[in-house]
Structure formats: structure tokens, C-alpha cells
């Protein structure tokens, strides 16, 4: 069997490379038993909801079970495609995501490149440890801290702005024009150090001799980064880009939900919050499922096309 020849080193495999099916199961049944419970759990909690998406094509009636209702075809899709609230959420999602990728994709790369340039090993470790601390903090805490820092009456930022520039206090959290910058900035604050770990690992793996050769050729520090380091970590950068584009439509939903106020709704209502409000708060289950399914399908299309493009252009892909 091709399976068995692939891994000649697994225990006992080399003794009888061509075992029959029944011998295979007699020998390895324990491994299959181990897999049983987790696999059932996996199918129940990851795949049953996936199938539950048929609800988008059926009319949900309470008490009739999730799937025991009548077929309505594409009716819910047609409805939300004509719903201005959907298009507003769709636009907000795209703007917020693109803005976020544009700014927060390069930042960890730059941060990792700079970290690598720190001479003192101990200082570098220290900076790293502190920089990924925010990753471990709950979104609730991040937003709560933000609320206190940005508070118009007592927040640290307004006090600093007031005493340095004599500015009037700004109610940052409530003003629509500050919503996107706040979102993007807190994302940078939370995840820069964490994401940089991956790039830093890639940079550390670059062959030392390449740096030495570049040095002999008279490359400056900056030139070494541009001509040696960045090309060497390009594959990591591409993989991360694909993953980022794939999750374009699934923003940090919880953060947006926490930052949402009626006064910034014009910019802060995204697809996920729309699904949450129509689905769970107004119990419009089928309609919300249709919207959710739509954005999920777009996400899959995005990730597979980016993956395909990347495979064509740089030979890098995630599957």
C-alpha cells in the first residue's frame, strides 16, 4: 500500500510492509479508538454548523428545529442584496479590512527587521517580551483601557493634548471619524510584537554567510536588509499575506462590537455585527445565516485565489 511505503519508519512497519486490511486494524485499532471521540467532537462542532448553513435557504420557524422548515431558495440572498444596511456593512468591512492590512501587514515585518538589528541580546529579549504582552490581554480589557485613556473628561491623551497644544477635549470613542484609526491602532498595539515572532524566526534562519558576503561586497546595513534579508524571508511574507487576505472579511468582530456606539454606527457596522444584530438580537435566524454564509464564501474565494496567484508568481502556497 502506498500509505505504508510513505512512512517506513513507523513502529513495526518495516517488519511487515504489506499487511492486509484486517491485520492493519488488529495492529492499530487503539490508534483508531483514540481518534474516535475527538473526531466525533470535531464533526459535531465544526462540520454540523457548516451544514447548518442550509438554514440560509429555508425559513426558520421556532419549535420546528433548525432544519425542519420550508425551502425558500435564494429569497434571503435576494433580500439582503437589496438591503442598504447590508451594503453599508459590506463597505465598512472592506474599508476597515483593507486599511488594516495596508497598515498592519508591513508593521510587524519592519518591527522584526529592526529587532534583529538590536545589538544587545538581552535588550532584544526584553523588548520582545514586552511587545507581545498585549496579545494576551482580553479585547474587553483593551477597550476598557482605551476608554479610560481617551475619555474626554479625564483621559490621559486629552490631558496631554490639552496641556501641550491647548486643544479642547475630543470624545474620541464617539466620533465616527476616529473609529477606523482607533481600530487599526489597537490592532497594531495588540498584535505587532506577536506577529513579528514569525518573521524574526525567519530572519534568524537566514544563512549567515550571505550577510558576510554582502559585507565583503561593501553593502551598508540598509542594503543588507534590502538585498539579503527581505528576499530571504519572502516566502514567509507571502504565506502570511495569503492568510491575511483570507480573513479579510472576518475582522476582529468582538472588538468592533465593543467599540460600537449608536453615534459611530455609520462606520462601525460591519458584516459580523450585522449578523449578530439581525440574527441573535432580532432572532431573524435565516436572514442572518444567509449574510454570514455569503461573507464566508467570499472569504474562501479570496484565500484560494490569493493562494493560486501566489503559487503562480512566487511558487509559495499554503496548500
Amino acid at each position: 500500500m502506498s500509505d505504508t511505503t510513505m512512512v517506513p519508519k513507523s513502529p513495526r512497519e518495516n517488519v511487515t510492509p504489506r499487511s492486509s486490511s484486517s491485520r492493519h486494524f488488529r495492529r492499530y485499532w487503539q490508534l483508531y479508538v483514540m481518534m474516535l471521540l475527538p473526531l466525533c467532537h470535531f464533526l459535531l462542532f465544526k462540520y454540523a454548523p457548516l451544514i447548518g448553513n442550509v438554514l440560509a435557504f429555508r425559513r426558520y420557524r421556532p419549535g420546528m428545529g433548525a432544519y425542519g422548515s420550508e425551502w425558500v431558495g435564494w429569497a434571503y440572498f435576494e433580500r439582503f442584496l437589496q438591503d442598504p444596511a447590508f451594503w453599508r456593512a459590506f463597505n465598512n468591512t472592506l474599508i476597515l479590512s483593507f486599511g488594516n492590512i495596508l497598515i498592519n501587514f508591513p508593521i510587524p515585518i519592519i518591527f522584526a527587521l529592526l529587532l534583529f538589528e538590536i545589538r544587545s541580546k538581552r535588550f532584544r529579549k526584553f523588548v520582545q517580551t514586552i511587545s507581545y504582552m498585549p496579545r494576551f490581554i482580553s479585547t474587553v480589557v483593551v477597550i476598557a483601557i482605551l476608554g479610560e485613556l481617551l475619555s474626554p473628561s479625564s483621559g490621559l491623551l486629552n490631558r496631554v493634548l490639552g496641556s501641550l497644544f491647548g486643544m479642547d477635549p475630543i470624545y474620541f470613542v464617539n466620533e465616527p471619524q476616529y473609529f477606523r484609526p482607533i481600530y487599526i491602532f489597537t490592532e497594531a498595539w495588540q498584535y505587532t510584537g506577536w506577529t513579528a515572532i514569525i518573521y524574526l524566526a525567519a530572519i534568524t534562519g537566514v544563512n549567515r554567510e550571505m550577510f558576510e558576503a554582502a559585507e565583503i561586497d561593501g553593502a551598508s546595513r540598509f542594503q543588507k536588509v534590502i538585498y539579503v534579508t527581505i528576499p530571504s524571508i519572502m516566502s514567509t511574507i507571502m504565506v502570511m499575506l495569503i492568510l491575511n487576505v483570507g480573513s479579510l472579511l472576518s475582522l476582529g468582530f468582538e472588538k468592533v462590537l465593543l467599540l460600537y456606539t449608536p453615534s459611530n454606527a455609520m462606520v462601525s457596522d460591519i458584516i459580523d455585527t450585522l449578523v449578530y444584530r439581525t440574527g441573535l438580537m432580532n432572532q431573524n435566524y435565516s436572514y442572518a445565516t444567509a449574510i454570514g454564509l455569503f461573507s464566508g464564501v467570499i472569504g474562501v474565494i479570496l484565500v484560494s485565489s490569493t493562494n493560486w496567484l501566489s503559487k503562480k508568481m512566487s511558487g509559495e502556497s499554503i496548500y
Binding site: D3, F45, T139
Partner: protein, 290 residues
Amino acid sequence: MNKQRKYRPLTIGDVLINAFMVLVVLICFVPFLYMLALSLSSPEAIINNKVSLFPVGLNFEAYHQIFTYPNFFKAYGNTIFYTAGGTLISLFMSALFAYAMSKRFLKGHKLVMMLIVFSMFFSGGLIPTYLLISDLNLTGTPWAMLLPFALNQFNLIILINFFRAIPAEIEEAAIIDGLNYFGILQRVILPLSTPALATIGLYTAVFFWNDWFNGLIYLNTQQYPVMLFLRNIVNGTAMVGDGAGAADKSTIAMSIKSAVIITSTLPIIILYPLLQRFFVAGLTVGSVKG
């Protein structure tokens, strides 16, 4: 001395980079210092905007308040329970699944691997998941917090890769010594896997500790985790500073909010530096080579 030979003079570039990094450290750290200062300051100092990075008029009233507030203790206890229970269940399920999946010769191995990877990019969505949980009658029970998250695809892949890297000879020796696969997993593989288990254990624990949204949609007030308690204070849906007069309420609310932030975040901040030598390796194995 060795050090002398390695010495190169600091260039302007070095100075700039180091200065920038000091700034980064400050940006990451100052918000916590501010919260700590607020939680420890007197109401007068807060009202007059005197507090910046250090407590003014040292005062433990906020901590005294939240520790005598029954709901806070309840919520904190709930969070500890969800975190401990969730992490244990998750490690148990993941170890079993990943160990079997680390054997490429098992039939159906490829299919299951595909199922895992596909579900990373296409998930069930909020509403179908919500309806599933309520159809299973998990709503309003702690199981709604624990069960749905017992398996995480990224953690699984980290663990599978880790198990695969363990030399097969060790297992062969164990088989010759008469151990079956359950015995091998328990007595050979798991003890060798502490770094990987610590990594995904930390990820999982952080997830459960910080979760509030699932508590919001699945649980009732008595079962709320501490992050949801905090969110309700921030939202103004929960009352704080009951004993105080109306004028004092907002300043007390501020220091209480800060005290809740500090107490609910401290365990994680203490935990992660201890485990960081593990998770740095875990992250790079798990996400890039996925």
C-alpha cells in the same frame, strides 16, 4: 578580553533603533501603569486629574470594594473554572487526536487532515453554531463554554507536527517492552511533549480566560465570566460603587474599573513570561509550516 574584541562603536543607526525600541516598550506598558495608578489613587486625585503614571494619595478602596462585591468573586471563580476545565478537556482531546493523526499510515489519515485544514478557512458561522448549541441544550450550562472549543485546528497542527518529530525508535522500544499505544501516548509521548503541551495549553488558557462573547450569548448572569462582568461595568449595565453618593460614583467607577482590569489581567501577565520560551517555538512551527 573577549568582549573587547567584539566591540564595535555604536552608530547613529544603533542609537535610533534603541531609542525607538524604548518607545515601543513604553507604548506597550504605559497603559497598564496608568490603570494601576488609577486603581490605587484617591477619588480626589482622580477627580482633579492629578493621576498620570503613579498613584496619587495611595488608596486601596477600589480593591476593597471589588473584593466585597459578591458578583465579582462569583465571576472570577467562574473564569477560573472555565479556564481550568476548558484547558484540560482541550489538552486531552487534542493529544488523543493529534497522536493518532501523527501516524500517516492510518487509513483515512489524508481525508481527516483535509477536514481539519478546510474547516480553518470555512467555519460554520455565528447563527448555525448558536442554533446547534441550543439544540444540544447546552445553553445556560457551563458546557456551552467548555465543549465547542475543545479542539482548535491551529493547536492540533502544532501538536501533530510535534509528535511527528519524535523519533520512531523510541516508540519501537516501548512496543518491544510490551506497551500498547495508549501506554505509549501516556508514558512516553506526553512526557516528551511538555514544550508543545505548554504552548497550546497557554494558548487555550488565554482563550478561555479572555472570552466574554460566548458567555454573553450562551450563559445567564450567575454564570458570567469575569471579562463579561468587566464589559458590563464598562457598558454601564452593571452598577458599581453602590455605597457612595451620586457625585462620587463616576470617580469610584473609574478606579473600580481599573481595579477589575488589573485583577483580571494579572494572572495572564504573570503566566506568559514563564512559558514564553515554549510558545515562541510553537508559534513558528505551527503557523508557517501549517
